[in-house]
């Protein structure tokens, strides 16, 4: 009987034991999987940020998707493509306008323009086509792909519009054939310029007025002027403000004619370029010229303010192909452009970043026309054999390069190359400026001023707390400093911006007086205490005694602030500084940030430094004291050398915290991305910049990714800095354990 019970018990026990072992195993797997996945999740931050950043640095892709020949009457002079790249249009020199499917070349609609004479040249301004005739007349036609929806499919209806009516404009009154043409609109009308076969430049200015009632636009000619030239003209382009006409002359000369509403001003300047110019275009926005040369180079020139007025200036060049440039086409929404050469190669460049994005050659014949779809995802090209090529372009982030982020870039509208952060503006034609230099500079500047304030206080304070302070006082001081660390930075930032900044502004000289008053006050106090009877009792409690002294000294400095300013600075230090020394004063400046951010990082530095100093082995200190060294000498020559690596790592950690601090700088600086080391000027830091701009950045845009890059930089910087600091501390700990 007992035997059966025992076996039953055994069996139950065995069963129970198995269950427990299973549970143990399950728990092991659960914890292992859970633990590893938590750690992976943390590491995910790194990889996710990287994954968002990397696409920016990949080069663009261009691939031919379709190629076909078409047979038309006459030669193709102009092509255009609609926004999504499904339909395109071509203009021939016999007045044919053909709308066709881009994938097959199948004709959708064919128009014949009613023209009195042959077409000699065609120029365009986005979807406005300017047709120049052999009799000196000009016709304006606009092609439209009218979108509509039917049966879940987008249907495009091709249309032609005549913005000035079907009547022709007489450009050249002597009725010569037009060779080159250009037209630009400004706010009150447009300018039309052309060259004739007998080498004359003809410029007409037209005024346009919109009727209030009918909204009809009436166009009136304002002026006509003619200029005769001797050289052969290769190409011309009108500036968007109608004040300049840029003409490429045979022999590599770029001529800049000054224009007014009345016409030619009889004033021009020549710029010599080493190679013959084959093509000139304006970049989107109209401030830059793109000059294609016969050696395959494309140069970007801009009008820049110099000492003696504005001057065309060479900015940068792009040189991928070696063949003569036959066509340049600027993108419609960005500062990129495509270039075709006589050998059939098409190259994509981006102006600001000076990047060669992609190149492709499937034609092997001279490229005669190029057309971009609105968002630059499709590029249509023709060669001089009448063949069409449709390219799919994947080019989302051309704006960024190493130089853009970290180098000086010459932006449109600026007088020199500079570091500039200006990420967005209201217009399409804006050139985004993504230099991280001003932000990095601002970050380091803010951290630097914070360190100037925090390091002395934290380290001196740590020395005192660890070695000289009475243990009972130390027990309350340490938690106080920990609470200091826990204070939300948003509160510190708020105090910095709304309380300290105005206070410092009105008591500026008092703040600087504090620098002198405090240390001398402390030493004076020490000297006075020396005369007290029984003064050894206060040993270890000096800091407590000095607290009212600090308050008193701060009060004194505040009180003497106004007299100092009266005495030395004619009553107002800020005005005096800006008048006498040329130093401008921002209310929210590096001084305020330094004080408050210094306050925020004192605890970080203090805690680590204090721990390190406190944990210097006692026998070292006792040995030194026993040999007759004073407490201060022991501190200076025994304790500090032993603890110095850890103190260094404490400073590094403090710096790391200052670099990443967001709310304080956001609230206590003007957030101006300028590079100015002055203590009286604000700055914009990487962290504050992210906080300000990320919520408004379009997801997956270049701007968004650049901000992620900024976050990635912050991450890496603090991570590496902290790791280095941790290693130093670790090594020190090992050293002590050896002692």
């Amino acid at each position: 009987m007992t035997c059966i019970v025992r076996t039953m018990n055994n069996r139950m026990l065995q069963h129970k034991y198995n269950q427990r072992a299973l549970k143990d195993r399950l728990a092991r797997y659960f914890v292992a999987i859970g633990g590893i996945s938590v750690i992976v999740a943390i590491l995910l931050i790194f990889f996710y940020l990287l994954q968002v950043v990397i696409p920016m640095f990949e080069s663009a892709d261009i691939a031919e998707s379709h190629a076909y020949s078409v047979t038309d009457e006459g030669k193709i002079l102009h092509i255009g493509i609609e926004e999504q790249g499904t339909m395109a249009v071509r203009f021939t020199d016999r007045g044919q306008v053909v709308f066709f499917e881009t994938d097959s070349g199948q004709i959708v609609k064919r128009y014949k323009l009613d023209l009195p004479s042959n077409i000699t040249t065609i120029s365009s301004n986005l979807d406005l086509v300017i047709i120049g005739l052999a009799n000196g007349q000009v016709m304006l036609v606009k092609y439209v792909f009218e979108p509509g929806y039917g049966e879940d499919k987008r249907i495009l209806t091709p249309l032609l519009e005549y913005p000035l009516g079907k009547a022709l404009i007489v450009l050249d009154e002597s009725a010569q054939a037009l060779v080159h043409l250009d037209l630009r609109f400004n706010q009150d009308g447009f300018g039309l310029v052309g060259t004739t076969s007998d080498k004359r430049l003809v410029f007409n200015h037209y005024l346009q007025e919109e009727s209030f009632i009918t909204e009809e636009i009436t166009t009136v000619i304002n002026s006509r002027s003619v200029h005769k030239i001797d050289e052969d003209i290769n190409s011309l382009v009108l500036s968007s403000d109608l004040n300049h006409l840029y003409v490429a002359l045979e022999g590599g000369i770029l001529r800049d004619y000054i224009l007014s509403e009345a016409g030619f001003e009889d004033n021009y300047s020549d710029y010599k370029i080493n190679e013959n110019i084959s093509n000139i275009q304006v970049l989107l926005g109209g401030s830059s010229l793109l000059i294609g040369l016969e050696n395959g180079e494309v140069q970007q020139w801009m009008s820049v303010r110099k000492q003696h007025g504005r001057e065309l200036t060479f900015i940068r060049k792009f040189h991928e192909t070696k063949e003569s440039i036959s066509e340049i086409k600027s993108e419609q929404q960005r500062k990129g452009f495509a270039v075709g050469d006589t050998n059939g190669a098409i190259t994509l460049y981006y102006s600001t970043s000076q990047r060669t994005l992609a190149t492709i050659n499937t034609a092997n014949k001279k490229i005669t026309n190029l057309a971009w779809s609105a968002r630059a995802q499709h590029l249509l090209a023709t060669d001089d054999g009448g063949k069409f090529y449709l390219y799919e372009v994947d080019n989302e982030y051309p704006e960024v390069s190493w130089d853009v982020l970290w180098g000086k870039i010459w932006y449109e509208g600026y007088d020199e190359a500079d570091y500039i952060w200006q990420s967005s503006a209201s217009t399409n034609e804006f050139e985004p400026k993504f230099s991280l230099m001003p932000l990095t500079f601002g970050t380091i500047k803010a951290a630097f001023y914070a360190m100037i304030f925090a390091v002395p206080i934290a380290i001196l304070g740590a020395m005192y707390t660890a070695q000289f302070m009475a243990p009972r006082m130390r027990q309350t001081v340490k938690p106080s400093i920990e609470i200091m660390e826990a204070l939300p930075t948003v509160i510190l930032g708020f105090l910095a911006g709304l309380w300290l900044a105005p206070y410092v502004e009105t008591h500026l000289s008092g703040v600087f007086a504090l620098l002198l008053v405090l240390p001398f006050g402390f030493i004076l106090c020490a000297w006075l205490v020396g005369y007290l009877p029984n003064n050894t009792a206060i040993e270890g409690w000096e800091a407590l005694i000095l607290m009212p002294v600090v308050i008193l000294l701060i009060w004194i400095s505040t009180a003497i602030s106004a007299p100092i300013e009266d005495l030395f600075f004619n009553g107002d230090m800020r005005t005096y500084m800006s008048d006498q020394w040329g130093i401008n004063y921002d209310q929210r400046n590096a001084l305020v940030v330094g004080l408050i951010m210094g306050f925020a990082i004192i605890p970080t530095i203090f805690s680590i430094a204090e721990d390190a100093i406190f944990s210097v082995p006692q026998h070292l200190i006792r040995g030194s004291l026993a040999l007759g060294a004073s407490r201060w000498q022991t501190m200076l020559y025994v304790v500090m050398p032993a603890a110095s690596p850890a103190i260094f790592s404490a400073v590094m950690m403090g710096f790391g915290r200052a670099v990443g601090e967001t709310m304080i700088v956001l609230m206590a600086t003007g957030n101006t991305p300028l590079m100015d080391m002055s203590i009286f000027q604000g700055m914009r830091t990487l962290a504050a910049n992210i906080a300000v701009e990320v919520p408004e950045a379009e997801v997956a845009s270049t701007h968004y990714r650049v901000l992620f890059l900024a976050a990635f930089i912050l991450f890496m910087f603090t991570f590496i800095f902290n790791t280095a600091a941790e290693m130093i501390r670790h090594r020190l700990r090992k050293k002590y354990s050896g002692l």
């Binding site: 914890v31 633990g35 200091m484 204070l487 509160i491 402390f522 306050f599 201060w632 976050a711």
Partner: protein, 545 residues
């Protein structure tokens, strides 16, 4: 003297000075926030300044905010050029009449300064405070008060108006809000059925029927509120402003009223406590520059609780794995250092990660999978409570891991060996012996995490806080807890009101008060954590011996 310097005593004092500066800065700051934040609710006496010079006379009724002495020459627009003048920053209220709440007054040509006994302050729903004298009370353009009972009449009628206003609010936010919410859910349900191609006529009729009944309910509630609005519009008062003009103030626009100059100390204290309570328990008004901060407190607490729920198991499991299960070697050491250092990574980086990964990637996918009916407006693909809590959980994870690991490492090995020696499995030892003993350490970590999360603002600006949330994340509508909603937060409230509000000067005391509240919470949590940690250390010191 030379000897004295050589002895190092002055340098030690200099060191002591450094720590004194730090301490003075901490306590000074706390004191500053305390004084500025808490003095705002005190019903200060309202003073009348009578100015008189050769040309004209002027009376200003105002509360003194601060007074200072400035050199006369730095003041523009006064005749005196020598010596100093005393000036007062005063709050005159009546923003609708004067254009701003504050002005400077100078101690020049000041004939008399007095505290008129019957001056009245009215806190209004719009335009800030009103200062003036009560003339009479009107019911529908009929005067219903005489000189003796006007104040009592005013107060009793104001009580009625306040009650009606509360009822209206209750109706609009409660019943009508619920109906709107249900209508929206019906719309989404219908759309979802259409998307899934499962909308049968039967279901459509059910939905339409429900919709009809909701709409009729809505109508009745609307009529009720309209009736209440008529009721509340009944009474008004006439009051005199300091320059003698009479204004009409409808009772509907009044929050409360008081006559501070009649108060004795006890009444003032009572009033102060009431104001403080109102500040904590009421909704904000006037672009957050007036009223209370209840939604911000609620949002902060909600977010922190959710974060704690998320972070505790994750952090503890990770710590147990690192300390108890993982094979201690180079990799684990590297991971440990990495986790340690993540605590030093700037919080904004977590915000950016949260926005990109949680909100746009996870949230976007969740929306595509589960909420196609509300597209294109995002449900989870937009900043919200859940993502904020998750981001902050990630941010505070290192804190919990480090604290738990430290707790685990402090438990004497002898205890584990004892447990294992008695036949317990590893998990039983962990669960029954190690974890209970480590629980104070885990608590410490959690409290520190909560304190950090409560004060963190920068990442939240990217992943979920807003300046004004239309509804709380927790309410009576199914599913009660709305994780996708945006919420208000004390820290962000400080930033927003202090820096983005149209009337910073008037809002500043409230920002100080909010700061004070936040500081109290965070310092309280930290002190708890510190004490817990110290107790823990004591306990294990005893065990070690």
């Amino acid at each position: 003297m030379k000897n004295w310097f050589a002895s190092g005593t002055p340098w030690i004092w200099l060191n002591a000075g450094a720590i004194s500066i730090a301490l003075v800065a901490v306590f000074g700051l706390l004191f500053l926030i305390l004084v500025r934040g808490m003095s705002h609710f005190w019903p200060a006496n309202v003073q009348a300044f009578h100015y008189q010079n050769a040309d004209n006379s002027l009376t200003v009724i105002a509360e003194i905010i601060e007074s200072e002495t400035v050199p006369a020459e730095s003041v523009q627009g006064i005749d005196i050029k020598q010596g100093n003048v005393e000036r007062y920053l005063v709050k005159t209220g009546n923003r609708d009449l004067l254009g701003s709440d504050f002005r400077w007054l100078y101690n020049i040509d000041l004939k008399k300064r007095e505290t008129p006994i019957d001056v009245m302050v009215i806190e209004r729903i719009e335009w800030g405070n009103f200062y003036g004298y009560l003339n009479s009370v009107y019911e529908n353009d009929i005067k219903v008060s005489d000189e003796d009972n006007k104040w009592a009449e005013f107060n009793s009628r104001l009580d009625r108006a306040v009650q009606i206003r509360e009822r209206i609010l209750e109706l609009e936010q409660g019943e009508i809000g619920a109906i709107n919410y249900q209508l929206e859910r019906l719309r989404l349900k219908e759309k979802r059925l259409i998307i899934d191609n499962e909308l049968s006529d039967k279901e459509l009729s059910v939905i339409n029927k429900k919709r009809e009944s909701l709409k009729s309910q809505y109508e009745t509630f609307l009529q009720q509120t309209q009736k209440l609005y008529e009721d509340i519009n009944r009474d008004s008062i006439r009051a005199t402003v300091m320059d003698g003009t009479e204004v009409i103030i409808p009772l509907e626009k009044i929050v409360k009223t008081w006559q501070p100059n009649k108060f004795n100390l006890l009444e003032k204290t009572l009033f102060y406590i009431q104001s403080l309570w109102a500040f904590i328990s009421e909704d904000p008004r006037e672009a957050n520059t007036e009223g209370g901060i209840f939604p911000a407190i609620f949002g902060t607490v909600m977010m922190v609780i959710l974060m704690a729920i998320l972070v505790t198991p994750l952090g503890v499991i990770a710590a147990i794995y690192l300390r108890e299960y993982a094979k201690q070697g180079l990799i684990i050491r590297v991971i440990r250092i990495a986790v340690n250092n993540l605590a030093g990574v700037p919080s904004i980086v977590y915000g950016v990660f949260g926005l990109g990964f949680f909100v746009y990637f996870l949230g976007g996918n969740i929306d595509d999978l589960f909420f196609p009916e509300s597209q294109p407006s995002p449900t989870f693909g937009t900043p919200g409570l859940l993502w904020s809590s998750l981001t902050l959980a990630l941010l505070t994870l290192p804190v919990v891991i480090v604290a738990t690991e430290e707790g685990l490492s402090r438990i004497p090995i002898s205890l584990r060996e004892g447990s294992l020696g008695l036949g317990a499995t590893k998990v039983e030892t962990l669960w029954r012996v190690v974890l209970p003993m480590a629980s104070p350490a885990i608590m410490t970590g959690l409290i520190l995490a909560v304190a950090r999360a409560a004060g963190e603002v920068a990442p939240l600006m990217l992943v979920g806080v807003v300046k004004l949330a239309p509804s709380l994340p927790l309410d009576g509508n199914f599913p009660f807890l709305h994780l996708d909603r945006k919420f208000m937060h004390l820290g962000f409230h400080i930033y927003d009101v202090g820096f983005q509000s149209p009337n910073v000067e008037a809002a500043r005391p409230l920002v100080y008060a909010t700061s004070f509240l936040l500081v109290v919470v965070i310092v309280g949590l930290n002190i708890t954590a510190i004490n817990l940690r110290n107790k823990l250390r004591e306990k294990y010191r005893a065990l070690d011996n």
